[in-house]
Symmetry: C2
Subunit: 219 residues, 2 copies
């Protein structure tokens, strides 16, 4: 059923695929990106271009002011970005306190104000080990609480919740998506580092699908 | 049991009472206020003074940037503030989309970063009719989702959830609190208007307790 939905769209490959999935379902899509003081803005620039191509309204909200509340994560603080896999203990330093509840609550507020009936976001099973706020029970509870928090209920939907990044990419490739329009690397340099946790998982997903990643890498 | 807790403290009489209740329970309190572009900052100034008196750390976070997401409420937009009781239909224009989920999610993030184990806020039964995000089922569900969203669980606690504003004031008066250090009026003028929904409920609470409200009114 076609409906008006808000998609949390970071510009990375997961949310890029979610955006296209929501569009392909025939929904009226409102894209929402957050500027939280990322080390680079490449993701946001790519997101803006993609939305322009589709004629999809795209809102970027500056939430850098709330970083003072959430100290301790390497994505916005001056901590070294760890290398390796998400499963490793070191990746816990990339956990931003209560990140997804904050982003979802803002997206739900936006949905209410725009009379949209759902918020889509790109949680997937590969993040379950390290990020508690990507787990199925969290998504289910957010859906429950979201539906009771406002006069008009807003559903919380993570279409790839039960599959991993490889399957997301497989679905996107089947849709014919061009992943050169996405950015994943945690480091803020011109080319992707190929070593941070985000790059490693991205490269593995492309390898698993037998496809070459179209973005440039340093190594 | 004494613990470290975050209190969402607007500077109004309810959260002022919650703050003192949390202190009187022997907790280590971190006060958290939000600047969301209120028509006046009197509440925030009073909140800062009160925290200073107690030596309570007080964080004020500017979240005005998110107003662009949440259009349609008269508390921040240029809509006339309705007069009368909260129960009336017109008061619905004071409902900010998803307000309490947003503020709680930020406060929970702050609690995680400060290693606090609970967030206190001033929801009460008088708000149940108009504000879905002040109802017991909402608070219970936020507590559930909060405890699963992060490595260290944070409880959501509304100590006055089951009583009304009259009872909150009665408790505060029993604690010997000075309500001249609070502000409630929705209008941004020097004296309280005495007519907006917030003033009407405040004045009724004082009348119900047989005490004169110490703040100055226009009428």
């Amino acid at each position: 059923m076609s409906q008006k939905v808000v998609v949390i769209y970071s510009g990375g490959m997961d949310s890029f695929t979610v955006l296209h999935k929501a569009l392909q379902e025939g929904n009226e899509v409102l894209a929402l990106s957050f500027n939280y003081g990322q080390r680079h803005v490449k993701e946001l620039e790519l997101a803006a271009n993609v939305c322009k191509q589709h004629g999809t309204p795209h809102k970027v909200v500056d939430i850098t002011a709330i970083n003072q509340l959430l100290s301790g994560s390497s994505l916005t603080d001056d901590i070294d970005i760890p290398e390796g896999h998400y499963e490793e203990e070191s990746m816990k330093s990339t956990v931003v306190p209560n990140r997804n509840m904050i982003l979802l609550s803002l997206a739900i507020g936006y949905a209410v104000s725009q009379e949209a009936s759902a918020v889509y976001y790109g949680a997937h099973s590969g993040d379950h080990a390290i990020y508690p706020d990507c787990r199925p029970e969290f998504v289910r509870q957010m859906d429950v609480v979201s539906k009771m928090a406002n006069y008009e209920p807003v559903a919380v939907h993570a279409p790839y919740l039960d599959v991993d990044k490889n399957a997301i990419l497989a679905d996107g490739l089947k849709m014919g998506l061009d992943y050169s329009q996405t950015w994943t690397c945690y480091n803020g340099r011109d080319k992707a580092c190929g070593k941070c946790g985000a790059c490693v998982e991205r490269l593995e997903a492309f390898a698993a699908n037998g496809v070459e990643d179209p973005i440039p890498y340093e190594a």
